[in-house]
């Protein structure tokens, strides 16, 4: 473990790029993620940037209960994100389908059956602070010693 790796670890956990994808929610969780951008929570003070571009993202926030329209779109999207990467399920929908998982529904939860999910933030919807906490708790774990672990 060299000094270089330590510097990388320190820097990387303060520069996290986030993309979010809505795979069929009610919009409530989207808006709570958007609220994280507000000056009150000020997500950028932790070095988290939300710009919704999978190709430069580190963390993918997945919202919603997986509708049929995403059947051939979500996995390619996940594959476009460069390593190291991680997906967080926000809200009850990606975990269980929440109250949309009833007979006659069109959704196919959980999202974890389609792409690997590393953390889950339950709630309908979770508060912005909870979302922020999840991202901040996961970020150091994802990036720590990435080269040592993988290469």
């Amino acid at each position: 473990m060299g000094i270089l790796q330590n510097v990388k670890n320190a820097v990387r956990q303060r520069s996290i790029h986030v993309a979010y994808v809505d795979v069929g929610s009610c919009n409530g969780c989207d808006i709570e993620i958007l609220a994280c951008l507000a000056p009150r929570y000020d997500i950028e003070q932790y070095g988290i940037y939300v710009h919704n571009n999978p190709r430069e993202a580190d963390i993918l926030l997945v919202i919603g209960a997986y509708t049929p329209g995403w059947a051939d779109r979500l996995l390619p999207l996940w594959e476009k994100i460069p390593d190291p990467k991680v997906a967080i399920a926000i809200g009850n929908c990606p975990i269980s389908g929440c109250l949309f998982a009833r007979p006659g529904t069109l959704i196919h939860p959980p999202v974890a059956a389609h792409i690997p999910i590393s953390a889950e933030v339950p709630g309908c919807p979770p508060r912005p602070t909870e979302i922020l906490q999840a991202v901040l708790a996961l970020a150091p774990e994802v990036f720590r010693d990435y080269e040592v672990r993988v290469l």
């Binding site: 049929p68 329209g69 051939d72 069109l106």
Partner: protein, 131 residues
């Protein structure tokens, strides 16, 4: 042809049309034009995009509530309905049908009968557009 970014939307469009409100409007349009609902549904799926399908009931009601200012002959062959409220046919198609009805009237057929006689032709036009 294998398409990279386009996919078959017919299933999802059918899902839209099976909601109660949409189903009722499709059946009403079908009975007005004297065509089976299946044919109308097929034409709608082929011709309109998804947001127009979702908006079908609102557009239909808006055209019902609008004061008629249209040509009575066009109205008799549901021209205003089929070109504006539910854009299934082009105005040139409707002009053609109107011409047929006008010819029939000038050759002595009473107007309601002439409009009804044009129905099979209208149905064929819609069916063609659905393919």
């Amino acid at each position: 042809m294998e398409l990279l970014y386009e996919k078959d939307l017919r299933g999802m469009k059918y899902n839209v049309l099976t909601s109660i409100r949409h189903d009722r409007v499709v059946r009403e349009i079908a009975s007005i034009c004297g065509i089976s609902p299946q044919v109308i549904r097929r034409a709608l799926i082929a011709k309109l995009d998804m947001i127009q399908l979702e908006n079908l009931p609102a557009r239909y009601e808006a055209s019902r509530n609008a004061a008629g200012g249209a040509d009575p002959l066009v109205h008799a062959v549901c021209g205003d309905l089929l070109t504006q409220a539910v854009p299934l046919l082009a105005t040139t198609d409707i002009d053609q049908v109107r011409g047929m009805v006008r010819d029939a009237i000038s050759s002595g057929t009473p107007e309601p009968d002439a409009a009804i006689a044009a129905r099979p032709y209208l149905a064929r036009l819609i069916q063609e557009r659905g393919n």
